[in-house]
Each structure stands twice: as C-alpha cells, then as structure tokens.
Amino acid sequence: MTAPIDSPLAAAGDLDAFRRALRGWLPKAIPHDWQERIRQGGEPAYVDVQREWYRALADAGLATAHWPSAWGGADLSLDAQIVFYSELARADAPMAVMYVVALYHMPATMFAYGTPQQRDRYLEGVRTGGVVWCQGFSEPGSGSDLASLKTRAERRGDKYIVNGQKIWSSGGQNSDFCLLLARTDSSSARKQDGISYFICDLRTPGITVRPISQPTTESEFNEIFFDDVEIPAENLIGAEGQGWQIAQTTLTTERGLLIFECVERLAQAYIRDAAAGQDTWLADPIVAHEFATFYPRIRGIQAMVAQLLSELRDDPHGGGVMATYVKLYWGPLLQDYTLFLTRAQGLAAQVFVEPQRCAGHNSGDAFVDFMWSYGWTIAGGSNEVMRNIISERFLGLPKG
C-alpha cells in the first residue's frame, strides 16, 4: 500500500524524518482527553477510546504498518517500529491493548499456517474493519501446564462441536473472534499431540463470555464458556493435531516491541515520579536512596531490550533466550518498583482511585500499577515457568 499523504508513514524511509513526522502527527491523532474520559466513563469509554485510536492509526496506515505489503502492510522496518513505539511512549498515547492479538498474534499465525482464504478474510477484517481478536488458550485447570487443556472439539461432518471453558482471555468481552485451542484427540500419547487450533467467531450460539473482575475493579480478563458450539471445519488452522506447534508461533510472535514500549514507559514514568515526589516522599533521604536503586535496574532492562531488538533485527524468529531473560527481569522489576512507590507515597497511595486503563503499567496510580504488575509475573508464562526454562534449557541443570 502507499501511505496516506498526511501520514507519518510517508517519511518512514528516513528514521529521523519519521520521528519528526510522528511528533507532529501524534498530538493531533491521540484521542482528546482520553485519560479523563476513561476515568469518568469506565468500560464503555475505554472501548470508545480504543476504537477511536485504532481508527486514527489505521487511517494513517500505522496500525498494520509492520505487516508485509503483500497483506496490506507497509513492510515497516524494525528500526522504524522502534521509533514508532518510542514516540508512542513519549507522547503518552493510549496503548492499543484491545488490538494486540489482532495486530500481532492472529496475523503471525496466519502468515505461517493460514490458508489463502483465511488470510484474505481475517487480515483484511483487521486492517480495514477493526475486527477485535482475543486468545482462548488457558483453562481453569491448565495455566502453566497449558498442554493439559481439556476443551474438546469433535468433528461432525464439516463442523467441529466445541465444549469446554477458557479463562484469562484478555479483552474477551470486547472481541469478535477468538484464537482457540481445543483437544481433537484424547487418545494421543503426548498430551500436546491431540490439540488443534481454530478460528472461532464469538457470536456463534452456545458461547458465553463472562468478564472476571480484578482486585482493582476493572474486568480485563474473561472466562469463555463453550456449550455445543459449532465451528465450521474451514476454521481449522493447519492440520488436526498441529495446534500445539502453531500455538508456539502465536505465543512467540512478538517478543520485542511490546515490552520495549512498556519499558520505555517505565523509564519515562521514573522521571515523572521523581518530579512528582520531589516535595514529598523523595525529600526523605531513605526513600530517595531506595528510589535510586531502581535506576540501574531500569537501565539494565532497557539495555537488555535493546539487545533483544538487535537480535531480532538479525533474525526475526530468534531472540528466544533473550526474551526469556527480559521477561523474568521485567516483571519483578515492575512489581518491586510499583510496590516501592505505593509504600513511599504513604497513605496517599492507599486512597481508592478509578484505574486509568490502557495507560500501561505505569499509569501513575501506584497501587493500581502494583496490582497490574502481576499481569507480567503470572500471565504469559509465570516467573516460575521462566525460572524452569532458564535453569533447565539454558543452564542445563537437570530436570527434577
């Protein structure tokens, strides 16, 4: 595609020019007063802001700029994507959290395993239609041990009949489609081998989406119940039983830019926090010292993420080892820092505030940010799973 005339994308060939163009474009494009609107309006306002922001990004060709041009993207280089994300962080833009699966996980899966028909339909749906996707992987009994999942899909003619329950589907209540893992063969020797991968339209009869309330009062996660849900056989991705393998592609799709954005936002929040606390908690030398101890850790994760991005520049499918270290470094750091801020701010941080959604995990409400930090230490491979991987796969320590 060619970029719309007034899009920063027109300047993407030159990183400095691209950065300048983004700095001009972003203040106009970011939904006005979005923080205040969401605080006041709750979930509906949050969805509105997400849609509005996605529309702005999509109109400028930026939403899918990282896709191959063959599929309507702009083949945006990784370096240009880095510039894009660092400018998003700098401009304090809303994070397009509702669209992450649609923009990264679904297309990566499609590029690798989708049929031409699937690609045509679903990629276009996202690019021009703003269709929202979520993941249906985890189950109540299958968290860290994902391969033990029990949701069944039985082939009946040209359909699969699905029964079971998914959980922790981020944004499920606002999604149109779901990337679904279900067991098609219960007799396979390896539990991984009986799993298949489906595209599931969430408007299909028999599906119930139930938001899970979080301790901070929002409902970002959902349970999805499947009661004799019919999925057309053409919605199978890859072959039957290939689901586990395909899911690895989905899960390792995006190991650099999203965390880069979060880390950049933390680095900027750190400077903002220093300014905000200078007359109160930062005036206490003991608290100021503890505050200072976080600086090298933040610089450490920034340097690690820079290295990860450099590895991905050389090999877009690489970086697995570094991504694992990054995740285990980042989650605990974010948690320690937000807990530190919560304590440093004293009673002020104990006062309830309506959470500021899609401002990242450094929204400025220390208590909310602390609670949400568990999203990084539990979800997407808990700290404990990361430690197993590092010690056994990377360091060669024997299995227990």
């Binding site: 899970i212 979080q214 301790p215 009062t217 979800a379």
Partner: protein, 365 residues
C-alpha cells in the same frame, strides 16, 4: 480481671463467631460493593459484648486489658473483618485514660453500648493543626483534622488540639449533636475508610476537654501498634492457611503445585518469619501489660515487623496463587490491601523503626 479471663476461650469464641458471620465470601462482597464498616456485622459484635471488652467495669465494660485487645485484633485480622474496632477501642482508651470521672461517665457507656468512635493519633506523637481556645465557658475549635480512621462512620470523635498556651488537649465531639460531618476518603481496603474534618469556630462545653499528657499519648500509640501488629499476625495466619490449602489442591503437570520445591521453600520462609511476628507480638503485649520500661520500643518493633512481613507474605501469596489470586472474587486481595494499609496506618515503617531503636541509638550517642 485480666487474671481471671481465659484468653484461649475468648479467642475461640471470637473466631467461631467470625467464621460464621464474617466468612471469606462476605469480605469479598464487601470489598466489591461497600465502603467502610459493615453495620450488620458490627451490630452482632456489639450484641456479643465485644465493644465492652476493654472498657472499665465502672462504665459498662468488662475491664479487660491489652491481652484481650490483642486477641480480638488478631481474630479480626484473621477474618479481615470490616469493623471499626481499632478506632473505637482506641478512642475509648483515650477517654478512659483521661481519668476524668465525668467525661468517662458521659461517654464510655455509649461506647460500650456500640457507638462507633474515632480519634486523631498522629505519629510522631503530638502534632496537630487543630487549635482550641477558651471563650467564656466554651471551647472553640478551629483547624483541620486529616485521616481520621473510620471517621466517616463514627458517632464520637476524640481529637487532639493545641490550646493558646501551646499545650496539647484532647477533646471529645459528638458528630450528630455538634453538627459536624467528617468527609469520607475511600480506601483500597474497603473494610476501612479515612475521613477529613475541617472545623471553623465550633463551640463545645469546656468539660469536654482534658490535658493530653505525653504518657497518655504514648500509651495510645502503644495500643495502636499492638492492635495493628495483632491484626497483621491474624491476617498472615489466614493468608498462610489459604495459600497452603491452595498449593495442596491445585494441580499442574499432574501433581499438586505444593510439591514443587521452589514454592515450598518460599512458603517455609514466610512461615518462619511469621513465627517471629507471633512471639514478638506476645512479648510486646506482656511488656505493655506489665507497664515495662521498654513498652514503646517493643510495641513499635512488633508493629514494624508484623506489618512488613504481612506485606511480604501477601505480595508473594498472590504470585503463589497464580491467576486466581488476581481476581476480585478470590479473597487474597482483601488481605493484601489490608496489609499495605496496616503498614501505613498510625505511623509508617520508618516512624515505628525510629521509635523502636531510639533508646539504643540515643543511648549510644
């Protein structure tokens, strides 16, 4: 009377009532839909005489001491009960320590009968922005009072003010009769709330005031520290139980996750630290009950230790629970919020540590 009460029996009876009347489902619902105390639960507690526990027998109470107070708070903490005992019993102690028979007679029976009360208790002790001036037979109060615990739910307030000579004075107010309205601050810990109050020339009768001596303020701070240490010990017991149960039942990779050594060792460390909290609390209670020299040191040390370990346990307990720990429907967050508040309430970690070591550090200088 302290000698005759069976603290074990008292503990059992409080625990049985709270197990029945304040189960985990209640605190979860409360956290989602309410703000501040649970009035129905409070009525039951009043019926059972819990508000009478530490009020002198002459004024309608049972005259029990700090040992009973610690038991009560430990059990309230175990249930994470949304009840304003901390503020109410401290206010009662402030009034009863006034040693002014008329004041005691006027207010303590109301408290024993279940009136919710709050008090200002700054840390470090003695700072206040409320001034009190004598005008004829009246006292005139002007200034701001911040962060009154459970202040928006209270009928009676015991405030600290400074008079024209710079002396500290305690005054007691009746929210309804005095026509005042503390403004509620909603907390993440929904079982409690704070309130701010601005007074601009409120007249009260002079007999509602008494001198706030250093000894009395110190004793109040010691009781507050014991109560919060006890709440944090009880809360940790509950979180440990909950977490250990979960680890025994939750299955992953074909085995209970409690069989994974890395998780086991973390729990063992929490449980071991908890043991120090328990016995230091008991030691601090004895010191305060025995009116020993080092009671401020001991009470503040117990508060600092138990609240910090409660936060440390709580934050890891969410992680040990995995996803379920991060839902509003599972009770762990109620305890974690309480832990974080306990650490800040009525003197933060640094304030209590300073208080705890002051004898040693000043002794060294």
């Amino acid at each position: 009377m302290d000698e005759t009460i069976d603290l074990g029996a008292l503990r059992d009876s409080i625990r049985d009532v709270l197990n029945a009347e304040c189960p985990r489902e209640l605190i979860v619902k409360h956290a989602q839909h309410n703000d501040g105390m649970d009035r129905e639960l409070w009525s039951k507690a009043v019926e059972l005489g819990w508000t009478m526990l530490t009020i002198p027998e002459d004024h309608g109470g049972l005259g029990l001491g700090i040992e009973a107070l610690a038991v009560l708070h430990e059990e309230l903490g175990r249930a994470a009960a949304p009840l304003p005992f901390l503020s109410s019993l401290l206010a009662a102690k402030a009034i009863s320590d006034s040693a002014d028979a008329a004041i005691c007679e006027a207010w303590l029976p109301r408290l024993a009968a279940g009136a919710v009360a709050s008090l200002s208790l700054p840390m470090p002790l003695g700072s206040t922005k409320l001034s009190v001036n004598c005008v004829g037979d009246s006292l005139v109060l002007t200034g701001a009072v911040l962060n009154l615990l459970d202040g928006a739910d209270a009928e009676i307030l015991v405030l600290l003010a400074k008079d024209e000579h710079g002396e500290l004075v305690r005054v007691v107010l009746d929210v309804t009769a005095d026509g005042i309205q503390p403004a509620r601050t909603t907390l993440w810990d929904r079982g409690r709330s704070l309130a701010n109050l601005g007074l601009d020339g409120l007249h009260i009768p002079a007999e509602r005031a008494w001198p706030a001596t250093g000894a009395q303020e110190t004793a109040l701070a010691n009781h507050a520290a014991i109560a919060l240490a006890a709440d944090s010990v009880g809360g940790q017991a509950a979180v440990l139980d909950m977490t250990i149960d979960y680890l025994k039942t939750r299955q992953q990779f074909g085995r209970p996750i409690g069989s994974f050594q890395a998780l086991k060792h973390r729990v063992a460390d929490h449980r071991t630290r908890f043991e120090g909290d328990i016995w230091l609390l008991r030691s601090a209670v004895s010191a305060v009950a025995g009116d020993m020299d080092h009671r401020a040191t001991e009470a503040s040390a117990a508060k600092a230790l138990a609240t910090a370990n409660y936060v440390g346990l709580g934050r890891d307990a969410i992680q040990l629970h995995g996803g379920i720990g991060f839902t509003a429907e599972y009770p762990i967050h109620v305890f974690v919020k309480r832990a974080l508040l306990n650490e800040q309430l009525l003197g933060n970690q640094a304030a209590h540590l300073t208080r705890a070591v002051s004898r040693i550090v000043e002794g060294a200088a």
